[in-house]
Symmetry: C2
Subunit: 410 residues, 2 copies
């Protein structure tokens, strides 16, 4: 078996990167874009062609001499299984080697049913998605709690009883005979927006998720900042002072931000308002017998219901006040706001923006952009797929694909 | 002029790095430590020897065959000018190419006298330090305010009137005909502790500075996190709620953390206690006519003065409460506490630790270490020198030293 030197690996990574990014389609363009010598480019390209990662296609435009053949990355050479396990749903997808979604399955699921049951259900969904003509090159999964990235095991996840230390990564690697990576779902949403969404090409970014829970993913210098225990960005469980009677969070502590301003909190406060007849709109919804959700509160606000508007404004303000501290200390260029609650009308985002701009340090907000997620509910899934392709075509792995063969050529 | 390919540069960086770090002293060790082929190692080593960056010394121990010659990095091939401009002092140093201090000058100075006067004085100190036999390879300076790292210009620094946008980097580059880099002083303290102090080999670290002002430097994945405007970690100007009458900060805002718990605040509150005869120790100091400083409050606490102990405990608690939020969100492995006030006895650090452990998320403090700075008042100076050597021997610059010659060989 050939092993590659550091020099040769860097050449491979560089050549593959510019072809994948569409920055070079011909050999002369490759030489220019990588800064490598012609001989080196020819050798590395030969290896990528032999491994089936790159192919030569139609004749390109001639610039005088022989017309060069166009080079393209074979994103269809393999597939990636990607999934996002939220608190209340499983989303599973099959993507190509560029992280483009080919097929998707979503269903309601309670993650607190534990690791065995949940991963069993996830694997059933993955099995439906696997395409026998497309070998699986890698698996990526996001979980709704802190994850030790190196081992792919959850670390004391507050809303996932029975998952602490479970070898999620090892189980998936064994089952699909492909490398697997596991991370916190909010980190993957941040990565999705960074690679393919509203945060494309940013260096310092915060992704704020406002769903049933609240969390943030931090990007420092173009890379995820995960923190020593994988819990960086855990905004939702910071204690907030309100001067009102304290509220118990689902994690067991008092007055966590998400217990006051998350989707569960909005549903609870909306239900209370409906029962007390303070909101005719919500009271009407409640008569259907279905429990109210944050979506109902958002609908009420869109119909001009003053209590619902007040609830969303208060939630935006509370989250904005805590986010302001994070903005002051982390100094991002861009905050991308996503999650079901964030997508519910403009009142909440307006209140959040106002709090951040008023309470952060002036320098930290001078050029700060606060925008909605562009990938919406797919951010985590897209991020999970990009986590896998980032790792597959990294310096550390590419040599393996070339020397030992890819799943397509082996 | 030869230009180097990416492959060749990586080889150079790798070979030089393991020699500088003392990880390899012979050619066989170099081959093992870098993973590069023998031919490549020989070529790259030849270039480093020719450039005067590496030399072959005494015969090493033979392991059977011909005894190999020991390789060493020629840290004495050139020098670095490093400086830290604090609010009230200039510290300038000359170091070798490993960042080891060879000589140092410190004097009191008021940075609010402006850029021209301050840099003029700094240059006078640098000129005293320059050794004609040691060419200056680079210059590194830390400033007490936010800096746009790319351009080396201060950005709206709150306590440096007249410095906004001043081309500090360009001025020093022109004057010393050597590349210069400028950063916030607290970032450089963090870098100093990371490279040569209490935080050596950490990946995620917070350096907390408690001097006349308060600030933090953040390290993410082994690299400084500077933020989009260079103001990441600006803990000192986060507004704090106390329930007492608000205090105006030197930056103009109300109730900034450093206006309540920084060195200036301690001196102010200590003076008040002395005048009100609540502290016999401080009242005694005040009779000398010299204005009290935080140092006097620390001395009083060491003599058991209850008011001084209470002032230091309160400062530690206030800083700890704000730091707890940063710890929860950034999830460092280690907090290194430095600065003159932090070095003043144990009460303050004990109160700070207690607040952080009580108020941060449990997972974020599970393995968190909070220790004192080991470089003490030299952290910023050492960090400034390491900023320069990191940049000089980076992938981007090393090719230049090899092809165009170093200041020693040109």
């Amino acid at each position: 078996m050939t092993t590659y030197t550091g020099d040769q690996l860097d050449g491979l990574v560089a050549v593959l990167h510019v072809i994948r990014a569409g920055e070079a389609r011909t050999r002369p363009e490759l030489t220019r874009a990588t800064g490598l010598g012609r001989t080196v480019v020819t050798q590395r390209l030969g290896q990528l062609l032999a491994a089936g990662l790159v192919e030569e296609g139609a004749l390109g435009r001639s610039t005088g001499g022989r017309a060069p053949r166009e080079l393209r990355f074979r994103a269809e050479a393999g597939s990636v299984l990607a999934a996002e396990l939220g608190a209340t749903a499983i989303t599973a997808g099959l993507t190509d080697l560029n992280g483009e979604l080919l097929a998707e399955r979503t269903e309601a699921w309670d993650v607190s049913l534990g690791a065995e049951a949940t991963l069993g259900r996830l694997e059933a969904l993955f099995d439906e998605l696997v395409d026998d003509t497309l070998p699986v090159w890698g698996v990526g999964v996001g979980l709704p709690g802190p994850v030790e990235f190196r081992t792919g095991r959850p670390v004391s996840p507050p809303i996932m009883p029975g998952w602490d230390g479970y070898p999620v990564r090892d189980r998936l690697t064994a089952r699909y005979r492909a490398p697997a990576w596991v991370d916190n779902e909010v980190n993957l949403m941040a990565l999705g927006e960074l690679r393919a969404g509203a945060g494309r090409s940013e260096r310092d970014l915060i992704y704020l998720k406002m769903g049933s829970g609240i969390g943030a993913g931090l990007v420092s210098g173009g890379r995820l900042h995960r923190g020593a225990q994988g819990c960086a960005g855990d905004l939702g469980h910071v204690a907030v002072l309100t001067g009102e009677a304290p509220v118990t969070c689902r994690c067991g502590n008092l007055n966590c931000l998400e217990a006051l301003a998350g989707g569960i909190a909005l549903a609870r406060d909306g239900t209370e308002a409906a029962r007390a007849n303070r909101s005719p709109f919500l009271a009407g919804r409640l008569t259907s017998g279905r429990p109210l959700t944050a979506r109902d509160v958002a609908d009420a606000a869109e119909h001009g219901d003053p209590v619902a508007v007040e609830l969303l404004t208060r939630a935006g303000r509370l989250v904005g006040d805590t986010l302001a501290t994070l903005v002051s200390m982390f100094n991002p260029a861009h905050v991308v706001v996503g999650g079901g609650v964030a997508e519910s009308g403009d009142q909440l985002l307006a209140a959040l923006r106002e709090s951040v701009y008023r309470r952060s340090l002036p320098l930290a907000t001078r050029e700060l952009r606060i925008t909605r997620s562009s990938l919406s509910h797919r951010a985590g899934l897209v991020g999970a797929a990009h986590m896998v392709t980032d790792e597959l075509f990294s310096r550390a792995r590419l040599g393996g694909w070339i020397t030992e063969g890819t799943p397509a050529t082996a």
